[in-house]
């Protein structure tokens, strides 16, 4: 009964997404165009490097990594910052706050329907194409289970970061700049634009400890993992790393929201 409260929002999200057929088509095409650009960009990088392996990754490794990063991005990007900002500006947030569900949960579940549709319409097709084109570039084994668990936590971390940044909009009342800044930082430091393996050694060591790496780099590593190349404890460590950050970020975003909301209810919005 309690769960129904949330599932109904997921359901609504799916129906809502399906109402806009043309938007779905445009999204799929845009996604394809981006992938073509990525393909040629990295092809020329590898051509100019003169070797088959750059930073321990072959061309097909890099391509799989980036293509799937894009697919993951498409499905995880929640536009939460945008959503919060807009409802603050329009005042709709008042109505959302008056629902008998915590705002943080309400927003997440309202968006969750899009996860489902995006997963089916962009991530799965891309995944299948990549798997087919690279002829076994993606290992089909226990790594996929790790991947699924990893994505669930990645979604949670990503949402917490988004929500944290969105909360800032309560104070600034502007959205655009903050949103862009967040996107650039997250995409760069998470490995979604350039694989973390390409980062300078020192920088990489730092970045790999940050929560951003847990969003794209860790799930993608699981996908590229062939099931044998890691020590047995390594995958578990990576999951623990994600779990750690998802809890920390959840607590942080909750506390910040609570404090900010208090500020707002005291000083008016």
């Amino acid at each position: 009964m309690k769960l129904k409260k949330y599932i109904t929002l997921t359901r609504a999200g799916i129906i809502e997404a399906l109402q806009f057929r043309l938007a779905t088509v445009v999204m799929v095409i845009g996604n394809l165009l981006y992938l073509i650009v990525v393909y040629f960009l990295w092809k020329s990088i590898y051509a100019s490097a003169g070797t088959d392996v750059v930073n321990g990754m072959t061309f097909s490794d890099t391509l799989i990594y980036l293509v799937l990063a894009t697919a993951l991005f498409n499905f995880m990007e929640m536009y939460t910052v945008w959503e919060i900002g807009r409802s603050i500006q329009s005042g709709k947030i008042v109505l959302d706050l008056l629902k008998p569900i915590e705002y943080r949960k309400y927003l997440f579940w309202s968006y969750s329907g899009t996860f489902v549709t995006q997963f089916i319409f962009t991530f799965l097709p891309t995944f299948i194409i990549v798997a087919a084109v690279t002829h076994g570039g993606i290992h089909m084994g226990v790594n996929l289970l790790f991947f699924v668990a990893s994505v669930v936590m990645a979604v949670s971390i990503n949402y917490s970061i988004d929500f944290l940044v969105g909360t800032v909009c309560l104070f600034t009342e502007s959205i655009w700049g903050i949103n862009i800044m967040k996107q650039v930082i997250v995409l760069l430091l998470s490995g979604a634009t350039i694989p973390l393996a390409f980062f300078p050694e020192k920088l990489r060591e730092v970045v790999e400890l940050l929560p951003f790496a847990a969003i794209y780099d860790v799930p993608l590593k699981f996908l590229l993992w062939d099931g044998v190349s890691m020590e047995p404890h390594e995958p578990w460590c990576m999951l623990l790393f994600q779990l750690f950050w998802s809890i920390v970020m959840m607590v942080l975003s909750k506390l910040f929201w609570k404090a900010s909301l208090r500020q707002i209810t005291v000083n008016g919005g």
Partner: protein, 333 residues
């Protein structure tokens, strides 16, 4: 029975940055700590019983919305106490949300892209309304207005009137104890206004829902409210029955007559005859504002008939609109 809403000496202050003019001023504002305190609501108290419909009136910027936001728990009062259904709203906002419904005339809580019935189903699940109650409520709605044509229409394709109607139905769906209607009839045509009034009235009667109504349309007030509260510049000006409001300003009625001859000149003659009442004339009528405490309209008419030939007449009660306008402009004396 304990009152459903209790407000005691509530004050709400906002901190607002003092903005300077021009580009230079704007840049200096970036570093300014120069705030001023604006008192939006100033020492307001009232109690509202279960089942009342209260008209909450005041000119634009009077502090109405701020009060409502405090009652719903979105804002916390600077001082004073608010109890809604025994809860402090801002402390138990999520719990309080189960007991209240809100309609802001300018915004919609409905799912824009979805047919109305989907929004209803979502609300049913969010508010955990038992299926039986949900069905009964839909049947009850159907008996009040014909909801079939709009039930399967996406909200974005609705006219403003249909959307507002839907929003009101959505606010009552979980059978809340209190519903806040903030300018529900703004921008609607006459027939839709009438429909919405009937609907609110029926829901109030049947479900004993307390309704707090803010509006600028005195038609809404006359049709729905017995009690009105007027607030201006954050201060409460009036809290009583609507009938009492009229007598409060003296029992004025406007007598309109048509006489033979040139109206302007006749009006001046009548003014001389009735120095105690203001007389005005327009193209069609001569209007005499009669204070019934001084003389009965019928006597005035009698006196006039002896001096001139009246061809037609009309009697106008002073409208709530006139009274409210007078209060906004002059305050309560």
């Amino acid at each position: 029975m304990a009152p459903i809403i209790e407000i005691q000496n509530v004050t709400k202050e906002f901190k607002v940055l003092n903005r300077r003019e021009g580009l230079k001023g704007s840049i200096r504002d970036l570093f300014s700590r120069n705030y001023k305190i604006v008192r939006a609501v100033d020492n307001v108290s009232m109690t509202i019983e279960q089942g009342e419909i209260v008209g909450y009136l005041g000119p634009n910027g009077a502090g109405k919305s701020t009060t409502i936001k405090m009652m719903t728990g979105v804002l916390e009062p600077t001082s004073g106490q608010i109890l809604v259904g025994g809860n402090v709203p801002y402390k138990n906002r999520t719990k309080n949300a189960q007991e209240i419904g809100v309609v802001f005339g300018q915004r919609s809580q409905l799912w824009w892209a979805l047919p109305l019935v989907e929004s209803f189903k979502i609300l049913r699940d969010i508010y955990q309304i038992p299926e039986k109650n949900y069905q009964e409520m839909l049947d009850f709605y159907q008996s009040l207005v014909d909801i079939q044509p709009i039930l399967h229409k996406p909200v974005r394709q609705m006219s403003l009137g249909q959307r507002t109607l839907s929003d009101i139905l959505a606010a009552f769906l979980h059978d809340p104890k209190i519903v806040f209607l903030d300018e529900p009839t703004i921008g609607l045509d006459v027939s839709m206004k009438a429909k919405i009034r009937t609907l609110v009235q029926a829901l109030n009667q049947e479900k004993k829902t307390t309704v707090i109504l803010t509006t600028h349309d005195m038609g809404d007030v006359d049709a729905l409210c017995r009690r009105i509260v007027i607030i201006d510049k954050g201060k409460m000006l009036y809290d009583n029955d609507i009938d009492h409001l009229k007598s409060f300003f003296g029992s004025y009625r406007t007598l309109k007559i048509r006489v033979e001859g040139e109206l302007k000149a006749q009006a001046q003659a009548i003014q001389k005859e009735l120095p105690e009442f203001p007389v005005t004339a327009d193209e069609e009528w001569i209007s005499i504002l009669v204070d019934e405490d001084k003389a009965k309209v019928i006597d005035v008419l009698g006196r006039l008939q002896s001096s001139c030939r009246i061809t037609d007449m009309q009697l106008q009660e002073i409208s709530s609109e006139d009274v409210i306008k007078k209060i906004y402009e002059e305050g309560v004396k």
